[in-house]
């Protein structure tokens, strides 16, 4: 295969996810609205919001340092680079060798580190509150996420995402207990990492409940647009990660147009179902008190650990 196609693959797959991320958010909001007997906003609303924010002036707090203005660009770039290592449509992804699954988690950690610092920068109580809570959540979510990756890496003997997908495809439909535990853990972690109900509420501005919004309170204009888009991309990234690791069927092995079209359709379908499931869960559940969140994430950690142990005990021969 020629290098041009490889370069295009590495360039276009993350951009596709970036372009589709607001749509996924709109879809979740739409399903949620229907479940609550509302009509809901049109599917293009998040794009309109982003366009509006990009055109507005940016207000920066007088007390903020230059880091505050640099953070949105870096957070956005780090999330996009992390997305670049995820095979979406085609397994031939040269950038998967640049960053493996552990490095992807590290890049998301980099984005979070800068986001949390930006929350602290203006020196307001809300920013500090959001930052402190975000670090509490990530303290429990990140190890659980790494454990999920370890569990799958033990089966695949690799942490390269393309190789991990390939292993799952080659194995066919095998019911592995470790995968079930890991999937459950990853779902819980994804909810926490993306700030969805019951951990955080993306639709609220009530100070007692907010985490992600608290850190963004001082942002406006294009800075806010970048931060919002990065958050949407992160949600799409986690959805794509779940799809990649557990339901990769349909992904193309090369660059044949037919296979790619089929892969795009399968991916859209899988992301749509995942988004609808999230909307149902968010409608059915209430937000938890902050100090019940560690319990929630400990459950994820324990599930991931059980997955790892069940791999060692039950499947080690493979």
């Amino acid at each position: 295969m020629n290098p041009l196609a490889h370069a295009l693959s590495a360039l276009l797959q993350p951009l596709l996810l970036l372009a589709a991320a607001p749509l996924l958010v709109a879809w979740i909001r739409r399903v949620k609205a229907r479940l609550q007997n509302r009509r809901g906003a049109p599917l293009l609303q998040p794009y309109r919001d982003l366009r509006k924010l990009f055109a507005k002036e940016a207000v920066v707090a007088r007390t903020a340092s230059p880091l505050f203005r640099a953070a949105p660009y870096l957070v956005f770039a780090a999330t996009l680079v992390a997305a670049g290592a995820l095979p979406l449509l085609s397994l031939r992804l040269p950038s998967a060798a640049v960053a493996d699954a552990i490095a992807v988690i590290g890049l998301l950690g980099l984005a979070r580190f800068l986001l949390v610092l930006a929350g602290l920068d203006a020196g307001t109580s809300f920013g500090g509150m959001g930052s402190s809570r975000e670090m509490l959540v990530s303290t429990f979510a990140e190890p659980a996420l790494l454990l999920v990756v370890f569990t799958l890496a033990m089966t695949a003997h690799s942490t390269n995402l393309a190789s991990m997908v390939q292993t799952t495809l080659n194995a066919g439909l095998v019911l592995r207990p470790s995968y079930l535990f890991a999937l459950a853990a990853l779902l819980l972690v994804a909810i926490a990492e993306c700030g969805r109900i019951p951990v955080d509420n993306p639709a609220t501005h009530l100070e007692l409940t907010m985490i992600h919004e608290g850190m963004l309170l001082e942002y406006s204009g294009r800075h806010l647009a970048l931060m919002e888009w990065a958050a949407q991309l992160k949600l799409a990234l986690f959805a794509a990660l779940i799809v990649d690791l557990f339901l990769p069927w349909g992904i193309a092995a090369g660059f044949a147009p037919g296979a790619l079209a089929w892969a795009a359709l399968a991916l859209a379908l899988k992301l749509g179902v995942l988004g609808a499931l999230l909307a149902v869960a968010e409608t059915a559940l209430a937000k938890m008190r902050l100090f019940r969140v560690p319990g929630f994430l400990n459950l994820a950690f324990m599930l991931a650990l059980l997955g790892l142990l069940s791999h060692v005990i039950l499947e080690a021969a493979t």
Partner: protein
């Protein structure tokens, strides 16, 4: 002259330069300025020579020995420079050069103080001499002499500002623990010397003790070197002693002296004890994982910036020992290639911690120098007042938080990769233990990120929490250059992992018999520690894409006339404008984690609503569980022994007589 001999002579020159620096320190009693233009430049020279010697020993992969006509008449001093010493000479040199550049600016304030600058100069030189001696020693006698020189000289550096009662207390605790450590190491060498009948390492290597005695020696070495390295539960001296010393000495102690302890441990356990047993590895993994998690939990709660850094050193040494434990497990179960991977991960972690902790301690010193404050609850807003120090400190914090593409991430990633190869182990117990240890490491990394977000965020972001911090100023050029040098070294370790792994691979081959040649099999850009299709990591493309994307976004979204950036007050919810006191405090930031992990801490906390004050003291539970009972027990034994001391001559004469009789009975 071949490369190895040249490297050894360079190392010898480094020792001479350190001794000369110590001697020139004496001049500072009369002329305080000599410290700046003689003692510190000599130290820089010493660091450069050590760095060159280390790199040459690693690159040439050679072992050179020599015998010095010094020491005891029947035991001349043996010295040896091999790849393992090379790794640690490299670490020493890479930190010592910036510290020596930093020193003149930092010690200027002491010229008019009451503290003796000569003591600082002399003991710094001797301290470095001691560390170099430990790294070069090839017999137990020279090793112990150099080790004690290092311990004693650093004791005097900890008590440098002895008018502070807290520093005297910290220094005494340090001295006590250093003695216990020295005793344990001496006993370990005693066990080793017994089997071969000689104190030379060469004889010990060829006559390892049997399995039981090897385990005894292992336990003693772990006790001795572990105390010095700050492993749980013997770490309590470390967060007391390291912050008490002047900041550039704190940097040397945390960045280099702890690594010298790691070196001693590797030298004894991997080389002199004979075939390793996997049980030792299990012990190390458990101790290392506990140390790492508890260390970082305490780092997260400190309000003193230097204490925070010291607790983070405890954490990092825990990670190093965890990786060493993995290496022993792999070596003990017959996987030398994987052992080499884990060992390289441990050495890489040691290098990264040295560079980052050196950088952060120098940064903390700059904060102390520029803002006269090290309490996080009174700092704040320094990024705008000390922009360069702030940037360097941020890079250090990001490295410590193990974020890609910085250097802390590389060693952590290598450790994870080693742990993920646990499926190759035969024993089911080990296959479970190793991934669980990796989980502990993951938890440590997440907590470490929280600790360093909090450190940088409280000190450099937000608004100044006290009046004197509002008047903080940037530090002088020398101190900035020193930090910039360490940032450059961190960048090299972050972006050229294949080069570093290639250098360290010779040390791994020396100890495990297997190298790590496959790490660069796809070219220097890609780090592939096992095989390219198993795992690969390329930091330079990540950094390039990040920079390119960031630049592209800034360019695409550059402020236009319609949408400029406007400065305004922070959002106040329509009430009174926020004051600096309304910010989240450092203690408040860590409160959720303190509450979740409450069982680890001994908390002493109360709030007074009338005066709106909150008092919080976070102490180690080990004080009450281990140290206080031990001290009380010692007091009781001393009380009992005091009964013999009556003050009557008759009683003492009868004691002498009894002793004499007993001795005669033993001889006959």
């Amino acid at each position: 002259m071949n490369t190895g001999a040249l490297a050894l002579s360079l190392a010898g020159a480094a020792v001479v330069a350190a001794l000369a620096s110590a001697a020139s320190g004496l001049l500072a009693t009369r002329w305080p300025r000599t410290l700046s233009w003689l003692a510190f430049p000599l130290l820089a020279l010493c660091g450069a020579a050590a760095l060159a010697a280390g790199i040459m020993a690693l690159a040439s992969d050679s072992t050179t020995t020599a015998i010095l006509p010094l020491g005891l008449p029947w035991l001349p001093w043996h010295v040896r420079l091999d790849p393992l010493s090379g790794v640690f000479l490299l670490i020493l040199g890479a930190v010592l050069v910036p510290v020596a550049i930093y020193g003149p600016g930092y010690t200027r304030v002491f010229r008019n103080g009451r503290d003796s600058l000569a003591a600082l100069g002399v003991f710094t030189g001797l301290f470095v001499t001691g560390m170099l001696g430990v790294l070069l020693a090839d017999d137990a006698f020279l090793f112990m002499v150099a080790w004690e020189l290092m311990s004693l000289a650093s004791y005097f550096l900890v008590t440098f500002q002895h008018e502070v009662a807290e520093h005297r207390r910290a220094a005494f605790l340090y001295l006590l623990m250093a003695h216990i450590a020295g005793l344990a190491i001496l006993l370990a060498f005693g066990v080793l010397a017994a089997s071969g009948g000689s104190f030379a390492f060469a004889v010990m290597r060829s006559h390892p003790p049997d399995a039981l005695w090897a385990s005894v020696a292992f336990a003693l070495a772990l006790l001795g070197f572990g105390t010095k390295a700050g492993l749980l539960p013997l770490h309590l001296w470390l967060p007391e002693a390291h912050p008490a010393a002047p900041s550039h000495i704190s940097a040397l102690m945390s960045a280099v002296m702890l690594k010298v302890a790691v070196y001693g441990f590797i030298r004894v356990v991997f080389e002199l004890l004979g075939p390793p047993q996997w049980g030792w590895g299990v012990t190390l993994v458990l101790v290392g994982a506990t140390t790492a998690v508890v260390g970082v939990l305490f780092a997260l709660q400190q309000t003193d910036l230097k204490r925070l850094l010291a607790y983070s050193s405890v954490e990092n040494l825990g990670i190093v020992f965890l990786a060493l434990g993995l290496a022993l497990i792999f070596l003990g179960s017959g996987h030398p290639a994987l052992a080499a991977l884990a060992l390289v991960a441990a050495l890489y972690q040691a290098l990264n911690h040295a560079l980052l902790k050196g950088l952060l301690f120098l940064g903390a010193g700059a904060v102390l120098h520029g803002a006269h404050e090290r309490n996080l609850e009174r700092l704040g807003g320094l990024q705008r007042r000390m922009p360069r120090t702030g940037l360097f400190f941020l890079i250090g914090c990001m490295g410590m938080a193990a974020l890609p593409p910085l250097n802390g991430f590389v060693s952590e990633w290598l450790t994870f990769q080693a742990a993920l190869q646990a499926w190759q182990l035969g024993s089911g117990l080990l296959r479970i233990l190793v991934p669980v240890a990796a989980a502990a490491l993951a938890l440590t990394a997440a907590l470490g990120a929280a600790a360093f977000v909090r450190a940088y965020g409280s000190a450099f972001l937000g608004r100044a929490r006290s009046r004197h911090v509002r008047r903080a100023h940037e530090v002088g050029r020398g101190m900035l250059v020193a930090q910039a040098l360490l940032v450059a070294a961190c960048a090299a370790a972050a972006l050229l992992p294949t080069t570093v792994v290639g250098l360290f691979s010779s040390a791994a081959r020396q100890l495990t018999g297997a190298g790590l040649e496959q790490a660069g099999s796809r070219g220097w850009l890609w780090l592939t520690p096992i095989a390219p299709n198993v795992a690969s990591y390329a930091p330079i493309p990540i950094l390039l894409v990040l920079a390119l994307l960031g630049g592209l976004l800034v360019w695409a979204l550059r402020p236009s006339r319609q949408a400029p950036v406007r400065r305004a007050d922070p959002w106040d919810c329509g009430y009174a404008p926020p004051t600096p006191r309304m910010q989240y405090s450092a203690a408040g930031f860590a409160q959720p984690i303190r509450r979740v992990f409450a069982m680890v801490y001994a908390l002493d906390e109360d709030t007074d609503a009338a005066t709106a004050t909150h008092r919080l003291l976070v102490r180690d539970r080990l004080w009450g569980w281990l140290y206080a009972p031990l001290g009380a027990g010692l007091d009781r034994v001393a009380d009992f022994a005091r009964r013999a001391q009556t003050g009557h001559v008759r009683r003492y004469l009868s004691w002498s007589l009894i002793t004499l009789l007993v001795l005669l009975w033993i001889i006959s």
